[in-house]
Subunit: 282 residues, 2 copies
Amino acid sequence: MAAPAWAGGLRGLRALLLDISGVLYDSGGPSGGTPIQGSREAVSRIKKSGLKLRFCTNETQATRGKFVEKLQHLGFDVSEDEVFAPAPAACRILQERGLRPHLLVHDALVPEFDQIEKSNPNCVVIGDAAENFSYSNLNEAFQALMGMDKPLLISLGRGRYYKETDGLKLDVGVYMKALEYACDIEAEVVGKPARMFFLSALADMGVEPHQALMIGDDIVNDVGGAQQCGMKALQVRTGKYRPCDEHHPQVRADGYVNNLAEAVDTILQQLNQGESAQAAGM
Amino acid sequence: MAAPAWAGGLRGLRALLLDISGVLYDSGGPSGGTPIQGSREAVSRIKKSGLKLRFCTNETQATRGKFVEKLQHLGFDVSEDEVFAPAPAACRILQERGLRPHLLVHDALVPEFDQIEKSNPNCVVIGDAAENFSYSNLNEAFQALMGMDKPLLISLGRGRYYKETDGLKLDVGVYMKALEYACDIEAEVVGKPARMFFLSALADMGVEPHQALMIGDDIVNDVGGAQQCGMKALQVRTGKYRPCDEHHPQVRADGYVNNLAEAVDTILQQLNQGESAQAAGM
């Protein structure tokens, strides 16, 4: 089979950045999720290939530690220092700027903010709070913002929805928009698609944007965000992917693949061909 | 005391349109609300003056019948056929267009839709659902929309927040924005500030926009909405009024008054002066 068009641009590729939910596994259900066919092997193959690898997630329903534990339990070869997640990034920002958050997040994320001063809040931090997005909790966050001299809302991502095993679920971006409208303000986003978030993962690998490829299921936050940083990006047809994403009015992926395994197959094949050609002096 | 500048434009005034919550009373608390000082007498004085009068509310936490009962119990001279509310207007639209709603509204509003077919929904109707705005209910409405060929969201108003006796509360517009963002659609608004809503109240009184004055506490939905229909509009400094409303970037009221009683004092005084002058052949 001929290589797809996007594979032609892989010369110089040194690093991969992978989204997790919808790319490695579908979240939800009693076991916390189901690996997507072939994705465990794909991660192992990347690691053996010599390509650098980081994971870049907007997951905020658990601390990074617990989240990585779950992935390991599902059979993925992932360690905590390979995962970039919004909450640790937000904690750095809060400390640097002397901000004291009112938190509207999932119960399981709260320990991530253990070291952060929270009395007399001067900002609101929202994550994917799921069931904690009650009317009463959203109203409290709203009242906290309205009571501030300069209302500051920090949102851990701006996703619209994600896919769990039992269907699509509203994501943090929806509640970010709700509070933006209620208070007539614009939120600061930490996590994808924020430029700083991608750049910090690239810096950690010591590569430039043009040397890295992002693979995700979210056409706007994964693909669009990475492209805005100068990376190439593929969309997988798993997770929250919908066929209309391939005709998105603003974002066009560099390529579309059926799943992570297919992407990794093609990438490693191309890199090997490149090496063989080099070895043969072509 | 000299009449304020806005009073100069009252010649030809034939009708008043009053918002209810924040103008007649503050909602909330065990008795369902507290009349605003002087507002009961103000309503009675308008009725005696010969000016036509209608009430134009975005209240959707109760059926119109129950809502009017509460106002009467609070001592207001109001009857059901004088009150324009979004739910009865929405029912007319649903019937005219053969729409079957998935409802996300306050429990007490549900009976307003008793006569409407709701099986196999082809639109979502949201009102001020308050505690019913749970994550699970909002997610159900989202999934219903995503399952439609052409997702249609009808919102009973687009207010940001209202004031109850124990503080500011998020209004339906915030959840409308949330669902708009989640589904990448634009809602149809029934209620203020929709043009049709004001015009139907004016038609019921048989007056033209330039013959009517709107009085409300919401700078955008009451004042801005009425002005877009060609009416003049005052903002009261009660209810959800905030001082920064007087420097709103888009909307400037024709006048600001401390409360309804002050507005009615000034209006009746000006009309009486006008009549006296006419009688004197001036």
